[in-house]
Symmetry: C2
Subunit: 297 residues, 2 copies
């Protein structure tokens, strides 16, 4: 039987999967991200073991970044300038291809997640652009536009967008080492922890932290609505697990846009525009499988 592999290569954990679609998953494994040699060794071992008796056609990878997505570049398929110890200039695609001898599809973790939500959920297939945002340790954007993941010069880095920041309301200076109070500097998980001196999960739902968090996310989401005119925005990541936050973001987006965009999906059915991931925490790895299938066509 023909099968495909998917890897969600995250900064803290790797997820490996073997299968053909969300309803036909043969094997799945999660393990912590340690050194490149050890972590990729475990991934290679997983595929060698789990694929026995099947024909492994291709593997897709959705990786933490920054990554090189230019097919013609000498460092295509690399994780490039990451500050993560040991991982800078890691030839992810090359190492996997050498060990497993199958075509490797490669994209960012967030583009893979966007492609997964786009490919595997019938209700999403006609919704273009589709944006996938993760708000967690970092903030990232993946996008499907005119049917394909968005690459360009590098790849989207929307976590670093500059937003209104009223220091009379929120004097926190932000914690992005490059930009201070960019979106990620104000609203990532570590930024929330630094501002309130405790981890976000321990802040009660009625704490003012969440209204402020909803506002920053909503400024960015409104900007992305103005820029892309998306038909669906999927909000994933650890911070979005907070009860009630998704609804607060929807409400703030409506308040910010203030009736300017006359579309039912904004003024009335915003719960259809801004949604939680339909694939739960498997958007990335299932998207990697979708990338593998596409590359084998």
């Amino acid at each position: 039987m023909k099968i495909y592999g998917g890897i969600e290569a995250g900064g803290t954990k790797f997820v490996c999967m073997l299968g053909t679609d969300p309803d036909h998953v043969l094997a799945e494994e999660r393990f912590p991200t340690t050194t490149p040699a050890e972590t990729l060794g475990r991934a290679i071992e997983f595929f060698q073991r789990a694929a026995q008796g099947h024909k492994l056609i291709a593997i897709g990878i959705g990786s933490f970044g920054p990554v090189d997505l230019h097919a013609e570049s000498p460092t295509y398929g690399y994780i490039t300038t990451t500050p993560k110890p040991g991982w800078a200039q890691t030839d992810l695609c090359g190492m996997l291809h050498q060990a497993l001898q199958v075509p490797i599809a490669f994209d960012t973790d967030v583009n893979a997640a966007a492609f997964g939500e786009h490919t595997w959920l019938p209700e999403n297939r006609a919704l273009d652009p589709l944006l996938y945002l993760t708000v967690g340790t970092g903030i990232g954007l993946g996008a499907i536009v005119n049917g394909q993941p968005l690459h360009g010069l590098l790849h989207p880095e929307a976590g670093h967008m500059l937003l209104p920041h009223d220091r009379t309301v929120d004097p926190f200076e932000g914690d992005c080492p490059f930009h201070g109070d960019c979106w990620e500097g104000l609203a990532s998980g570590p930024a929330v922890e630094k501002r309130w001196n405790r981890r976000g999960e321990t802040l009660p739902p009625d704490h003012p932290a969440w209204q402020l968090e909803a506002r920053y996310i909503a400024y960015a989401v409104a900007n992305l609505i103005y820029a892309f005119s998306p038909q669906r925005i999927v909000l994933g990541g650890g911070v979005m697990q907070q009860a009630g936050l998704l609804d607060r973001v929807r409400h703030e987006v409506q308040r910010i846009i203030n009736g300017y965009l006359q579309s039912d999906r904004i003024t009335r059915d915003i719960d259809q525009l801004i949604v939680a991931p339909g694939l739960g925490n498997r958007s990335g790895v299932l998207g990697a499988i979708a990338l593998a299938i596409q590359t084998a066509r």
Copy 2:
């Protein structure tokens, strides 16, 4: 001979053109935008007269908005909710099709301009995404992504992005009727005039207005770089005619991104990333011709 028509339908003037490409323009006419009946009447008359002896294959329109771009919508091809007197709910495509009996391609003025810069300039063809921004009476974004103009739920309205606005430096409250100090509310031609109590053209090049203007445009351009990772950004529109402004914007973009994006096109060759329109003030109408050619294929 087979020829194509292009219309740049602007809020203050219409530009009509007949030809096959930038080097083969048979006829061109510019006239003020008055009532829909009179203005479209002049456009129809132009094509009927100028196309005599040729085979007119199709017409492309790049229009001021908001417009309806959904092919399956009952108001496809309409200018929709514009505040411009007499123009709300105008069936632009229908009126032209009825009079001229050729296929009509339809898009926003800025998407047409982006498509023109993408199609007709060989150096731009491989540059994707390509963004076209106009900074003038209004601020608008057109985008070519994965080879095609960006549409989505409505169409991009990036002029209304929310940006950092330090009121201790610039107490101007902004003049957008919906959002106050959104990008357009701070940086459009009318906003500049309102803040300084004189028209922008009369402000000398060393006036502090221009450094402030460059900063707001650069915040927005940086956000669009983070969102789209474009390979080219074309900055057009009346305000960008100001001597030295383009260079100030480039410099401010570098300052804002602060080395975070490691690409030569940002850190070193930003004059290759952020450029003036290669087609001058004909990007829109030549883009409309390119849309006509595409629709006839």
